[in-house]
């Protein structure tokens, strides 16, 4: 499918382990943190049906991150709960977009659209990954990703052409979110190895596809996409540099776990 010339590796043991773990960690951390953020809407959604849908997608994301932490566990990393609940902010490799506070629903929707479009494309590329467990997981979660993007696109088309207020709110959120969204594609320290060994087609390829997708969707609304060429991406997430918002999120997320880390759930 992608014309990036993947070089298939014989086994995972011959792969660069540092690069492979880095790739899995950043995808997993994105999903866990955004899953947690989106779950903060549970009970506060703008209408009952949307509350259910948004919460359900948040659960999907946490389920996907769990599958990835299990994969890391098989590669020698600590257990999923340990990895999710005991690391500090500077050990997380998520992009900064996902850790930003929810703000109003317009921002959460725009973030959902910007992130999930990239996420679905990332997994589409990962179906070709030389690391087989990633390729298999990519096929397993295809349906979830399809729903997430369908949900995001439908809302963006709906509110992006509805009232003066809805359009201006989405527009403002797009402008706030876009520099952070460009940070999704920050290259990891081992990006070269990740691409060379065929684990993933790479952030450049992903960004190219993402821009085409979001431009197409925004063109069907009355919104204007901020020009990505003149914006500076918010970077740092992929090397553990975060905004002041991540640590409080982690503290809250791990509060119950830390009361009794040995408890069986």
């Amino acid at each position: 499918m992608p014309a990036t010339g993947y070089r298939k590796q014989a086994t995972s043991t011959t792969m660069n382990q540092t690069a492979l773990k880095e790739l899995i960690y950043k995808i997993a951390d994105d999903l866990l943190i955004l899953g947690h953020r989106n779950s903060e809407w549970t009970g506060f959604g703008p209408l009952l049906e949307e509350d259910i849908a948004f919460s359900s997608m948040a659960q999907d994301k946490i389920g996907q991150s769990y599958a990835l932490y299990q994969m890391l566990n098989e590669l020698g990393e600590p257990a999923p709960d340990t990895v999710a609940f005991t690391r500090n902010a500077n050990q997380f490799l998520n992009c900064q977009l996902v850790e930003l506070p929810n703000q109003e629903y317009d921002f959460s929707l725009v973030r959902h659209f910007l992130f999930d479009t990239a996420d679905a494309l990332r997994w589409e590329l990962l179906t070709q990954s030389s690391y087989e467990p990633l390729a298999l997981l990519a096929k397993k979660i295809k349906g979830e990703l399809r729903y997430h993007t369908m949900h995001a696109n439908t809302w963006m088309k709906q509110l992006g052409s509805a009232t003066e207020e809805s359009i201006s709110r989405l527009q403002r959120s797009l402008e706030v979110g876009m520099p952070y969204a460009l940070g999704i594609f920050e290259e990891s320290p081992n990006e070269k190895e990740i691409v060379a060994e065929g684990m993933f087609a790479g952030e450049k390829e992903l960004k190219k596809r993402w821009l085409t997708k979001i431009e197409n969707l925004i063109a069907q609304t009355q919104l204007h996409l901020p020009d990505s060429k003149i914006l500076s991406p918010v970077l740092g997430g992929r090397i553990g540099k975060h905004s002041e918002h991540l640590q409080p999120l982690l503290d809250e997320m791990s509060e119950v776990f830390k009361i009794d880390p040995s408890a069986e759930w």
Partner: protein, 199 residues
Amino acid sequence: MKSLDPRVTRLPHIGEVKLKKSLDQFGTFEVFVQAKEGKAFQHEGAIHAPNLEMAYVLAKETFTRRFTCVSIYVVDTRDVFVSPTTEGNKSAYDLIAKNVEGTIKQTFEIYHLPKRGKLHVHVGSVEASSPEAAMINAKELFGTGKIVYNIWAIEHNKIRFTSSEDKDLWNTLPEKKFRDASDYKGGDKLKEFLERVKN
């Protein structure tokens, strides 16, 4: 700018006394679910949405997030033709007005309510020029002699179906037990705890 945000529109201000406006709410849409390939679609309930497409997107999570499902469809509540309802003494098919004909033939989907308290189940489709005529035709085709408490007829082209590509929507991670309270085995843990306290 005119705002729909209640935090803005409810701000106190001095003004004239007015009549109460009708409620600002979305309309409703009926949701039908197919649990397995080959099984009939069944009515599951209604949801609120601004339009048919949004209704489809919201119905998916509202009605199919836990149970097995292969397909859904939605239709505006106002597009559902409802027969008179019986209390079981006779079939709803016997209460349809005859000779109500329209001009253009269309396809109608037909649904039976097999019992009070149950949900409407899809039984098939018929060509007819009016919903009444559709139900009369349906009696020939699907009226098995059993009592039907109520009949619905919906024009086929008013329904938002699941496309073949969208069938993937239900192809998800199977390990979702963490979504169910039962997975946390609360009862077992409580029992264990009570045993411990007793001894």
